[in-house]
Amino acid sequence: MKDLIIPWDETDKGTPLRVGAPVTLSVDGIEVTVPEGTSVMRAASDAGIQVPKLCATDSLEAFGSCRLCVVEIEGRRGTPASCTTPVVAGMVVKTRSEKVQKIRRGVMELYISDHPLDCLTCSANGDCELQDMAGAVGLREVRYEAGENHFEVRAGAAANAQYIPKDDSNPYFTYDPAKCIVCNRCVRACEEVQGTFALTIEGRGFDSRVSVGAPNFLESDCVSCGACVQACPTATLQEKSVIEIGTPERSVITTCAYCGVGCSFKAELNGDQLVRMVPWKHGKANRGHSCVKGRFAYGYATHQDRILNPMIRDKITDPWREVSWDEAMSFAAGRMRGLQDQYGKNAIGVITSSRCTNEETYLVQKLTRAVFGNNNTDTCARVCHSPTGYGLGQTFGTSAGTQDFDSVEHTDVVVVIGANPTDGHPVFASRLKKRLRAGAKLIVIDPRRIDLVRSAHVSAAHHLALRPGTNVAVVSAMAHVIVTEGLAAESYIRERCDWEEYLAYSDFIGDARHSPEATELLTGVPAAELRAAARAFATGGNGAIYYGLGVTEHSQGSTTVMGIANLAMLTGNVGRKGVGVNPLRGQNNVQGSCDMGSFPHELPGYRHVKGAEVRAIFEKAWGVEIDPEPGLRIPNMLDAAVEGTFKGLYCQGEDILQSDPDTKHVAAGLAAMECVIVHDLFLNETANYAHVFLPGSSFLEKDGTFTNAERRINRVRRVMAPKNGYEDWEVTQLLANAMGAGWHYTHPSQIMAEIAMTTPSFAGVTYEVLEEKGSVQWPCNEAHPDGTPLMHVDGFVRGKGRFIVTEYVATDEKTGPRFPLLLTTGRTLSQYNVGAQTRRTANVAWHDEDVLEIHPHDAEVRGVKDRDWVRLASRAGETSLRAKITDRVSPGVVYTTFHHPDTQANVITTDFSDWATNCPEFKVTAVQVNLSNGPSAWQEDYNAHAGLARRILPAAE
């Protein structure tokens, strides 16, 4: 397939798009019609006329400071700035009159008088708006003599007091004040787009400087999202990669491979060398914004740790031996078939990756169903959002979020439960914060005081800091308040939901045992606060619920998801813009991997394997018989392995040893298997127990699609050739064919065609459609040819929405004298999941180790000081890490992240799981914390074992 030529208009139109009644005006004699509220500058751009500008850019509201964009308007005095002047019907605008051209040259002359003229050696040469504008206005001379300025290091014999040296503290970009024209674009980007408010302008007049209010960028509040770098018109804020390599000469639109927001990026290159990743303004998930991971943390793709050749070994105690692809495949295929011959066809299985593409995931599940002949396929969604699949499937009839991200712009009350968007889903968080600054109310339900509870210009109306494990009680208490105070949207419920089931539900939920007063002691949430939050949600206008793994990763994860769906239906908040139930997906393609039939009980499109008519579709397409029985889920595979009935595993792009709970149990399961095939970029922790290592390709090296949390199918495009030689779908095909499959795919588009042919919700998805529309949200088929931004608009997918009784059941994981604290886990902004990618980038500058957050009261009684080594122990195991004393966690609760394998937070977590889906209860573990001298014996043993397990024999001479 040829390189993509994007038909989208990339012109910077100066000010943002408006929505409104059409207004017609004339610009330089060209008639143009634009929405009311549009600026004259944008209208001119629509007419094909670019008014010179410096402080304006269409990602930011107009500011009107540079005066370069002045125009003349018939009947108006003076020369108004076109960026801040809204259009009026019949307006006659002149953008190139002699008068304004003279003003512009004068303005440019002043700018240039305080700017170094080192264009040829400047890192922004060729990518500098100041340079472009000097050309555009016809600047030919600068009459001002050198005087006081900001760019010369010396002023005569003395040092120039106005000169500030370059700040290169941030690992990814530099701030060079000498190049700054104080246009405010960076400050406004930090404020309007990112919502961090890390930047400001200090001083007045000639003394005005961009400031981070800290010694440097790295020590400031800056979250390194790159919005300021993007906005800067000069070399003042510039990517280090551009400084090192030079300006890029071509670009490819692709999709970020980090979180479930699924941002669109322009990968900008010189040849096949990636120069930078720039968020794409036409990306419908991110609308031109990015975070530190997607924007900057791609260096892992070329990290020296990447394994590029296949490797095998007989025993996991042997060193690895590099072999040819042929040898690796025949070794792997021989072993897997041998295990089936010896232990039965169900003795092997696969784990699909939520980081790989839809096409790759589809092939891996097809491998087990069509080639292995069983349904032993599972995916990392098991350990994150499987309860979402079950809970939303039961209540609404479909296993996905109901909205697109744009919907948040129409929300009046937002409930965030068990999610930390500013860290886990930063670009969505920025869009949410923008809405909150515009007046929407926020209710946070989380044991920890996440940043959204209180940060710059955002504060939650209610923070219900519940005890970990009491989600169902809190959600039910909110429903209780809504039902008993007569706030339920009865007409909506009568029309759209099963009324009989609602009556049973309202009887149940109206019982006094669900009242906030009755559950206060249990949940730790003050009843009055909970009542106020429930009323605010029910009566505040459009109410939207966003939730994360703090909801799902519990014994009652599925029940909480149902409780959330109940709340949305109770208040009439499903089926239009600004409302809905929105699971925030952890990994880039969790949604897609679930859609693609990765679960052992369902074929692609969430159809249970027991259905003969569904099996028939795939039996016909694949020419095999499909097992009607559900296969093993990941925890079941590990249990079966320990028991001796599950012997072989093909694990693509997932590190179960680090990411799954109860590490010792996972290790025992893996060690008991006779053939573990790890397909990954790196020798991850799971690979310590592998017999075959198949090198993977990064998202930059393959074609395919990812499906984000809003069901949006986005193209992933090959930016460079795979360093390992094959895209991941090709590797799976090699393995399948080595086992006799006879597959002949030559491009992922053919795999998508097979998905579309077999899966009704994808029936209209083709690569051609994706090229044309940029992206589509499933269902995309004959009924919805353009895809489906909002679900359940005219009624629920299952017919009538179903209220489900949600009785709170305390988890068996209880605190007691031995383990008096509750541990909960989460993510930090700069790192991603097990850190395999982000730890191999400069993001470690922000988070180079996992720490244990502990409340000052709990720390004091244990004699723990900040940065002390502490031992963290549960009934499952123990580990050691450093303490961080903070009141972000409540007394009785401790918190850590699991990004670093040295910490092994999952040695602590237990094998308790969600009742319906076996999703592990990561978020609640009873623990004890006390002082320690350093790493635990387990950590030392583990590191020693990992070192041995990663030995690679030198290649034979």
Binding site: H601, P630, N636, V805, E807, S913, W915, A916
Partner: protein, 72 residues
């Protein structure tokens, strides 16, 4: 899987369905097991119940009658 873990999982499922209205809880528990438990897990479960069902919620024992016996 250890019998204790299996019993705990079955009891968790029963606890949910016990809270649901209607009189068909055993059938719904069995449906859940049929839909999500692999044949070998169901076989182990049925054996355990047949051997007295130590630790099982009475509702789990009643549900066992509706659990599909794996072929082979």
């Amino acid at each position: 899987m250890s019998p204790e873990k299996m019993v705990m999982m079955a009891n968790q499922i029963a606890t949910f369905f016990k809270s649901q209205p209607g009189r068909d809880q055993p059938e719904r528990i069995a449906d859940h097991l049929n839909d999500f438990w692999a044949p070998r897990m169901r076989a182990q479960f049925l054996e355990h119940v047949a051997a007295g069902g130590t630790g099982c919620d009475p509702l789990v024992v009643r549900a066992a009658g509706f659990v599909r016996v794996p072929a082979g």
